[in-house]
Symmetry: C2
Subunit: 206 residues, 2 copies
């Protein structure tokens, strides 16, 4: 298909597509004439993926580039690519609190107690410690086990997700499914939790 068809099918304006091509986020099409190229389903799929990362995941183009690079490094074990994708997907946080390190020692010890098999560098470890620190700043005198229920539900969801990914026929599909799962199902989960809060609040207190 031509660039105009690609734009119509994907909903991405032509100047944006040209920008992605220049930036290497989208592979070049096949040259058919001096000033013309033709694109196929892989281009369309990639454009949809970029759109999801930007619009649903709220990622910057720099972060999109990091995610796509993680996707393209085939061959690495899934959990490594997952860690790279998580790093790329992580929202940048303003300057780190010096109190983060002791809080992280606590949450790390608790994750070990849970028996979770994790690398040291997982960026979500810091996010969990930051959440504990935030609660304490607000006067909640709690330990990491305040998150116990959340860990249980998160683990049940992740177990099903990894089972689904493990059943994929090709590694690229598996990794792409994981990135989509992280971004899209995360948004769905957050939305559903808010809706469920409203439902239970109306039902119980309404």
């Amino acid at each position: 298909m031509r660039i105009s068809d690609l734009s119509r099918e994907s909903g991405v304006p032509i100047p944006t597509i040209k920008y992605y091509l220049r930036e290497g986020l989208l592979p070049a099409g096949e040259r058919t004439a001096r000033n013309q190229a033709t694109y196929d389903a892989t281009h369309l799929r990639r454009l949809h993926l970029i759109r999801v990362l930007v619009e649903v995941g709220g990622l910057s183009l720099l972060a999109v580039r990091r995610v796509l690079a993680a996707l393209e490094r085939g061959g690495a074990p899934l959990h490594e690519v997952l860690a790279e994708a998580h790093t790329a997907l992580r929202r940048d946080t303003p300057g780190e609190d010096p109190a983060l390190a002791p809080a992280r020692a606590e949450t790390d010890a608790w994750l070990t107690e849970l028996g979770w098999n994790l690398g040291d560098g997982s960026p979500a470890r810091d996010d969990l410690a930051a959440a504990l620190l935030a609660l304490r700043g607000l006067g909640w005198e709690v330990g990491p086990d305040v998150f116990e229920r959340y860990a249980r539900h998160a683990s049940a969801l992740a177990e099903a997700e990894i089972a689904y990914v493990a059943a994929a026929d090709r590694p690229e599909t598996a990794v792409e499914a994981t990135v989509i799962g992280t971004v899209v199902f995360e948004r769905a989960l957050v939305a559903l939790r808010r809706l469920a809060q409203e439902h239970h609040s109306r039902t119980r207190l309404g």
Copy 2:
């Protein structure tokens, strides 16, 4: 305490505190001299809350203002304040897709099937529809029931959260706990899901 103590205790720099005072995000202290005021624990607590909303929730100051306004409107039923806080906490999304309305009709019908008691205006309804639309753009031919498992776990978490909030002694505490719960536990949940993905991926495929 003086503004310098407030700054030291909260970790928020004095110029930022002065900015919050000018903008009305933080109530004025009690005047003790022409150019001096004294602050108490309520100011410290409010500063911690603003910091959590900005640093953990990633909110703009405009959104912080909306959340604080929702907190200050005491007396309204919890689910209304919750809806206002959710609106304020919602990340702004770039221009809406014309395909959103039909997708929302599907997700809304599915939420009704689940028996969830929801207002029409809940902003998370759009987020759920956007997630469905994103999956379809990526070639997943799925209906809203692809989120069934997420709805079940989200509902279990929200039920416990609302029970906790309902047990609070004062309505202000209840509403503040809900906002904190939305922001801080949401971040913890997202972090734990990513960690659990890594754990199950290493355990199953490592």
